[in-house]
Point group: C2
Chain length 331, copies 2
């Protein structure tokens, strides 16, 4: 590894002078500084991250709490977006977890690595995170609210305005909703759903709202069965996510019915699959790329000027992605 000392030697200067040149600091003539930088580049000198971190207590490293959601396309996209943005800004990304043997909390892990900031991108709140959230480390959460911290949320509540608008215009009046586990997200979606229905004067019988789980086709399959068994069957079912819809579709088919002829379906997330299915799945497309980017942006703002940074709640709008799984009842 080429160190600053070697560069100094090569330049016939002291380490201090070279350091100043490299960091664009005063105390060295501009021409000489430029020349030093050039030599450094030729020598392929890059400052040792550990040394710099130790000295400056800035690591240029962002911690990301991701749990095991890596296998969900929506979250993968968010992560990819974060990664791309951070990289462009010269930050690295390290996974932060608490499952290690040492019994270290996420907070301690972040401290140990001297992460400049942490991005929380997991669904369920964990006691473990509280310590982190209450610390001085800049934190931005995705799809999750923490006291006094910036959160980037998909527009869970408002999305249903668009969804119900769309379905209403397609002639649907009896709309059922299968929702995921209880939590911030689910509560916002339920509220949004009910509000949007009221706006159009749609009645929502209690049995039209059924609990299932996110990303679990089986559960949504069962919920679908319940809905299909109702006397006053809905004309359209909303699913907690695109993957869950598959469970519903299987159940519908099993009963000898078909989408969208006998019943319409609407997903959530807008993963690639939704466009590839036949019939294509009408769904609400979340803008994962932008969610990731906004979160990254906010975090860097918080890092680069912690004193002036004021936490906020950022909402990223998605949009209805029409599809063949919703029948136009007007015709």
């Amino acid at each position: 590894m080429v160190t600053i000392k070697m560069v100094a030697q090569r330049c016939g200067l002291s380490v201090g002078a070279v350091s100043k040149a490299l960091n664009h600091q005063p105390g060295i003539s501009p021409e000489k500084a430029a020349w030093v930088r050039q030599v450094a580049e030729e020598m392929r000198y890059y400052p040792n991250a550990a040394a710099r971190t130790l000295k400056t207590s800035r690591s240029n490293n962002i911690g990301v709490v991701f749990q095991n959601r890596l296998v969900h396309e929506y979250f993968s996209e968010i992560l990819e977006s974060i990664r791309a943005y951070m990289e462009k800004r010269g930050y690295d990304i390290t996974f932060l977890n608490d499952e290690r043997d040492s019994g270290m909390s996420v907070y301690e892990h972040a401290m140990q690595r001297q992460c400049d900031g942490v991005l929380i991108a997991q669904g369920s709140a964990r006691a473990d995170l509280d310590r982190l959230v209450q610390s001085d480390i800049p934190v931005v959460a995705i799809d999750q609210l923490f006291q006094g911290r910036t959160a980037v949320l998909s527009d869970n509540a408002d999305s249903f305005n668009q969804i119900i608008d769309y379905l209403y215009q397609m002639g649907h009046r009896r709309i059922a909703m299968i929702h995921g586990e209880d939590g911030e997200v689910t509560r916002m979606r339920l509220a949004g759903f009910h509000r949007a229905c009221r706006k159009w004067g749609l009645e929502v019988p209690e049995e039209y709202v059924v609990a299932a789980k996110f990303q679990e086709p089986k559960d949504s399959g069962l919920a679908t069965r319940q809905l299909l068994a109702l006397k006053n069957r809905p004309t359209c079912i909303l699913y907690p996510d695109d993957i869950s819809y598959l469970g519903g579709a299987t159940e519908i088919e099993r009963q000898g019915l078909s989408v969208p002829e006998d019943i319409s379906c609407f997903g959530y997330d807008g993963i690639r699959l939704s466009r590839l299915l036949r019939p294509s799945l009408a769904t609400y497309r979340q803008d994962a790329e932008q969610i990731g980017r906004r979160a990254a942006e906010e975090l860097l703002l918080a890092i680069e000027d912690p004193k002036c940074y004021v936490p906020q709640i950022v909402t990223v709008a998605g949009s209805v992605q029409p599809g063949d799984s919703v029948k136009d009842l007007n015709q």
Copy 2:
């Protein structure tokens, strides 16, 4: 942050003594060492990663080269598996890339961060990687071969033995193959395919082998159209991956045909989707979890004893996942 100095103060010992106790080194009585460790734990002391790295030039940090394939379920699963394993062993994971402004190569990036080892998990070889591969940094590649380096491969060639066995037993004699971009993987698969067919005495007309792209349903759709137009149409089509099959399915449906009644289909990868589709997709299930774990294991071996480590080629077997997309022609 609580430092070793604070622990020493609290214990009324020197930093040196505490360091020995913490690192289980001789030069301190076992009882006192144990007591020191307990105090350290109570104080929630964790060694500063940067300082330790600087001193030991071991970072407990693994670099992962992943490019933008994060959004493919197969790779996400591998990454998740790597992450889980490394974490358990006390290593962190940092993304390594070369797209940063600084014009730093992956190698330089890894050096700067003093990564203990690097995992290469991307499809296409890049000139940039060569520098890394030729360096002293332990490297393990996934689904890719590098001179003198350990590679963990899915059993691309052998898988077709199993696949063709399965299809033959289901009565298929005219089997076509749509394959992905040229490369190590594709070449191995093609060879495996041809060999397996010869084993059963199956003839493979040239027009039965069509090029498309990985993970691009549209391309596979076009390839499918070509195959369906043949005078002597195959009874079964092999797709480069499960996602690509969706493009084929769409094309088949568009022609008024159906899977598996008119034509059978077989995927590759065995992502979750394959089991959720109707008809369920017969496919070759790659053991992503094990591929990731084996790669991680090998890398740690190489790191922990570089002198004795001998690079090898590890093949991880998958298995045929039967599905309704293949018709039993025997009946």
